[in-house]
Amino acid sequence: MTADAAFGLPFSPRPGVLLGFAVAAAAASLWLLLPRGRAGRISRAVGILAGIASLSGFAAAGHRMGSLGEEFVFLTVATVAIVSAAATILTRSPVYSAIWFALALAGISGVLLVLGAQFLGVATIVVYAGAILVMFLFVLMLAQPSGLTPSDRISNEPLLSAIAGAVLVGLLTLSIGRLSAGSEDAAAGPAAAVEVADLSVDHVARLGGELFGRHLIAVEAAGVLLLVALIGAIAVVSRGEAAAVAEGRPAR
């Protein structure tokens, strides 16, 4: 179940050590790659190398899934998702950042597809990449001053932020590792044969039945929420324009 057996490495690092290495490399990579004013080419190259090391550490610490094809597909889409998510927060230009986010969404929807949530995979593309991201780009085009502003070129406390993120991901992977250790204990017991329902059979029909059956009131509430958000957004914009005219600022 653990990584070292499958790769047949001559040495067998403990998964905890491997994850610790991956987390440390991730922190170093984020620190080196976050916009820091005049970052040299060397530090950027070292950062990219540390990022690759961290990714391969995470890939080696991940768990085997049985089928090789499934594993390959999962590894590919997860790598696309994580690399483009990292590029989203690391590129200086906000427009490129938004476009990297679109690629990250493609990877995430691939992960959701592999996990058997077909509807959500497609809905993520339609709702996020199709609607929310385009809204972000609209606002960027409306608001972005020409060229890179100085605030895009430097970050708030890059070292502390990278360390905070690494501590967070370390804690999360620690609890995931304890989960797998507990499951190996449980797998030895008689409860290992519990069958769970397969959600991918008749997926969309059953999902719709669940959504409009058990969660019908929540759907209505979500509809009201969308309407209220729409009205609120329009109200804030129009009041802002009126206030701008009253103060003599140019209304856009």
């Binding site: 899934m65 997860a78 998510a85 502390l160 993120g165 409860a191």
Partner: protein, 156 residues
């Protein structure tokens, strides 16, 4: 961890653990983005990344338990994210209209009185390299350009 609490369900398989790992990494990347970046729109993109990380984790658990609850929650997360983006971007636009900057540090007068003022260190010099654009062979007469056209941004 108490093994009895897990005995009621199937043991954690590789797919669940890998899904949780991907979700955790996405969440942490979004967290770093929120902390470190200063452009308000990039900060919102990072918040969306955190939401996506949580969604991946929820779908992993949903698949693991054979239960629709996680996927239902993700559907409502998508809905609320759309509302949140609409309202938040309006506020970003209003903030931009007041200061002319997308930098959150433009609003640091709202900080607590005991917090010292943030000062930028190591600001880069302005990039003086001229951007290279493709050149066309001049032909015909030179058009008279409007003032507005000359003020268009050169790059984004």
């Amino acid at each position: 961890m108490n093994p009895d609490s897990l005995a009621a369900t199937a043991p954690a398989d590789g797919m669940l653990l890998n899904g949780l790992l991907v979700g955790a990494v996405l969440f942490a990347l979004g967290f770093v983005g929120i902390l470190a970046r200063r452009n308000m729109i990039v900060m919102f993109l990072s918040a969306e990344l955190m939401l996506q990380g949580v969604s991946v984790s929820l779908v992993s658990w949903s698949r693991h338990h054979g239960d629709w609850g996680g996927q239902m929650l993700v559907i409502f997360v998508l809905t609320v994210a759309a509302c949140e983006a609409a309202v938040a971007l309006v506020f970003v636009l209003q903030a931009f209209a007041r200061t002319g900057r997308l930098d959150v540090a433009a609003w640091q007068s709202l900080r607590e009185s005991v917090v010292p003022r943030a000062v930028d260190h190591g600001l880069p010099e302005v990039d003086t390299h001229p951007q290279t654009w493709p050149r066309l062979t001049p032909a015909g007469i030179e058009p008279e350009l409007e003032e507005d056209e000359l003020l268009q941004r050169e790059h984004v």
